[in-house]
Amino acid sequence: MTAMTAHVVDMGKDFSRYPAGRTDKDGKFNGTAFRNAHLIPFVKSGKKVVVMLDTGFAYGSSFLEEAFGGLIRSGVDKKTATSLLELNTNDSALREEITRYLEAAKPVA
């Protein structure tokens, strides 16, 4: 049932194997571009998003913070974000880091 309704993002295939940076100033494959293309439209419409992270080679903190922490700053509440986001990775440190950014981010007043 989940597989039918979830939006699956393969980082390496659908975005970039080497994502980096926060904004367009940093290059094409930045955190804001990823958030706006693959997270916000689906999460805001209540759809589950599965992010396949292992097809990306390495993630800098600025990309991860902007993509996932930025989700909270752009008006998605933490509960909705954590329930609708599924992080698919074998790297537990990477999952923990993203969870930390989701928890630490504050909504913009």
């Binding site: 080497y18 940076g21 290059g27 494959f29």
Partner: protein, 359 residues
């Protein structure tokens, strides 16, 4: 027969005209000679060259080599961009190139030539390996030398120069580091994460204000990097010519006071700048000028790239300071240094051990 006065005057007039024609002809050839000489000098423009002699070692960590190299770079920038002279760089004394010092010279030359094309000339290095490497890096060509300096030496061919404006690591750096077969995957991932964040720092902060090097040039951008694979280690160096960490890090009140008073202490002959300490603050305390909680993690990524390696070194040079960290047999040690001259920018050098090649 006696000539009539009319005949005499006619002959005199003819003689006078002949003389006049000869004089004019002589004058014409003289004028032509002069004109030709003028043309020749017009073809050969007179360029007054100002010499700038490069130091023996392009290295930055030791105080003496830092002083000599940065002194040379500052003189080059002053002559070419402030005094607007045509400078002839004399590479003859250079004996050894280290990646950090060489990248600084490379970046400054590229920046100067982007602002004033054709204002730099060069005299080739006397040491063959140095000569071949400078040519391989494209510096000779950039300064108008059209010849080739062929080399099949690994020490020369393994230098890979890269540059860019934004942090698009997809193009070259990403695949180059990922495909480095003699390094464990966790080390490669850590290194790419660190290098990527170093470049993001450049695009996010380094050029927010004009560089304080006296040139008054605003609106600059860009980073430069070298990747060099040696038999036992991989060296990655990246640099920007921006504001530098000490200028962009958020300062505590006492640090701000010391920075404010620094020109006064310098005037009385004392050097007590805080650059080394401020780099350490940015690295260890993740301090950012924005003071936003979600910012300032870039240096943590850069530092984390080192413990993921079994053995290696990391050096962060910024303005007049340097932060050094090394890992050996699981032990990590740190150090910081303050120098006399500023590089007016940030240069980060990773040196990581490679596994032995299997034959």
């Amino acid at each position: 027969m006696k000539r009539t006065p009319q005949q005499i005057s006619r002959r005199a007039a003819l003689r006078f005209r002949r003389l006049q024609r000869r004089t004019w002809r002589q004058g014409r050839s003289k004028r032509r000679r002069l004109r030709l000489a003028e043309d020749k000098s017009a073809l050969r423009p007179i360029v007054e060259l100002t010499a700038c002699v490069a130091p023996e070692f392009f290295a930055m960590y030791q105080h003496e080599s830092h002083k000599r190299l940065v002194g040379f770079v500052r003189k080059l920038v002053r002559l070419a961009l402030i005094e607007k002279r045509t400078v002839e760089i004399d590479f003859r004394p250079v004996k050894k190139l280290y990646p950090d010092g060489t990248l600084l010279v490379f970046a400054e030359i590229k920046r100067i030539l982007a602002r004033r094309p054709g204002c730099l000339r060069m005299i080739r290095a006397a040491t063959p390996l140095v000569d071949q490497t400078l040519c391989h890096l494209g510096l000779y060509k950039a300064m108008g030398y059209l010849g080739e300096v062929p080399s099949d030496h690994d020490d020369v061919l393994h230098w890979k120069p890269l540059s860019g404006i934004c942090a698009d690591i997809e193009q070259e750096i990403g695949p180059l580091i990922e495909n480095q077969g003699r390094m464990p995957e966790k080390t490669r991932k850590g290194l790419l994460r660190g290098v990527g964040e170093a470049i993001v720092n450049v695009t996010q902060h380094a050029y927010d204000d004009p560089r304080e090097d006296g040139t008054g040039i605003a609106g600059e951008a860009g980073w430069w990097a070298f990747i060099r694979e040696e038999s036992d280690q991989l060296i990655v160096v990246s640099c920007d010519l921006g504001l530098g960490v000490p200028a962009t890090v958020w300062k505590r009140r006492w640090e701000a006071v010391l920075t404010f008073l620094e020109p006064l202490t310098r005037a009385v002959g004392r050097q007590n700048h805080q650059d080394g300490r401020l780099i350490r603050a940015a690295v260890e305390e993740s301090r950012s000028r924005t003071r936003l909680e979600n910012r300032g993690n870039g240096f943590r990524d850069i530092m984390d790239s080192l413990p993921r390696a079994d053995e290696g070194e990391l050096r962060i040079f910024s303005n007049r300071g340097c932060y050094y960290s090394a890992v050996e047999n699981g032990h990590q040690r740190h150090d910081m240094r303050n120098y006399k001259h500023s590089i007016f920018g940030t240069l980060i050098a990773w040196q990581l051990k490679l596994q032995k090649e299997t034959t």
